[in-house]
Amino acid sequence: MPARRPTKRAKASKGPEQTSASTGNGSAPKETPTPALMIIPLDGDQLGQEIKFYLAHLHEWRDHEGKHVLIKGQEHVGFYRTEEAALEEGFRRFGRVPFLVKQILLDEQPRPLVWTVL
């Protein structure tokens, strides 16, 4: 019988919502790294526009690294401390339609795709 280990269960903690919910971009960046990324939306990806917007503005959001940004179309709704808070706001504003909630990571490394995605 395997030894007991602490389990990290699904129920994500609901932290306090980050206050900013405006379309401000935060402080101006001191430098502008250009991650020459060419993102190709896979078939069925309904958030191609949002991910392009995210990547285009990522360098401006240095001060918000680690927080979760809510984006719909070309609109940046706000930054949130937790993913759940961003999702709550997204469903409240937009309903059950595609919108992007993504943690701001300045140095996000792509993962290898290991399965066939249709």
Binding site: P2, L37, L42, L47, G48, P112, W115, V117
Partner: protein, 140 residues
């Protein structure tokens, strides 16, 4: 310690699961007084090679889950691609609370399974693959 037991079938380590919408999405539906989609029972393959849990598009469509995320992935011979992610919960038995995951959508190579259980769920599990007895056990 909750334990899930199942058999090793023709396609590998198969377990019965239920797929349901994410907790936040369900709360939004409740707040709006709208009906909650009934969890979708199906079969899943334990896939230790998959970083993300993956769900058949038919199930995502049935539940009406909205795409709310992407993951950047690299594909050999191509630039980076954005992989659609969907917040859902996967239940692996009555004694375990559901796992909230950011699942991607795929059509598995075999018709007998509609979900691939990836390492996001297996991260806290101990898996015993008993090939001699054609059985698996998962402890969480």
């Amino acid at each position: 310690m909750p334990r899930v037991q199942s058999k090793i079938g023709h396609d590998g380590a198969i377990v019965t699961v239920r797929v349901e919408i994410g907790e936040t999405e369900e709360a939004a539906l409740r707040a709006a007084g709208r009906p909650i989609p009934i969890p979708f029972p199906t079969t899943a393959l334990i896939d230790t090679g998959a970083s993300h849990t993956a769900v058949h598009p038919m199930i995502l469509t049935h539940l009406g889950v909205a795409q709310t995320g992407t993951a950047l992935v690299s594909v050999p011979g191509q630039d980076q691609v954005s992989l659609p992610l969907y917040r859902v919960r996967i239940s692996l038995g009555a004694r375990l609370p559901p796992f909230a995951v950011r699942a991607t959508r795929i059509i598995p190579a075999t018709h007998t399974v509609a979900v691939l259980i990836g390492r996001d769920i297996l991260a806290d599990a101990t898996l015993l693959f008993d090939g001699e007895n054609q059985a698996i056990s998962l402890w969480f």
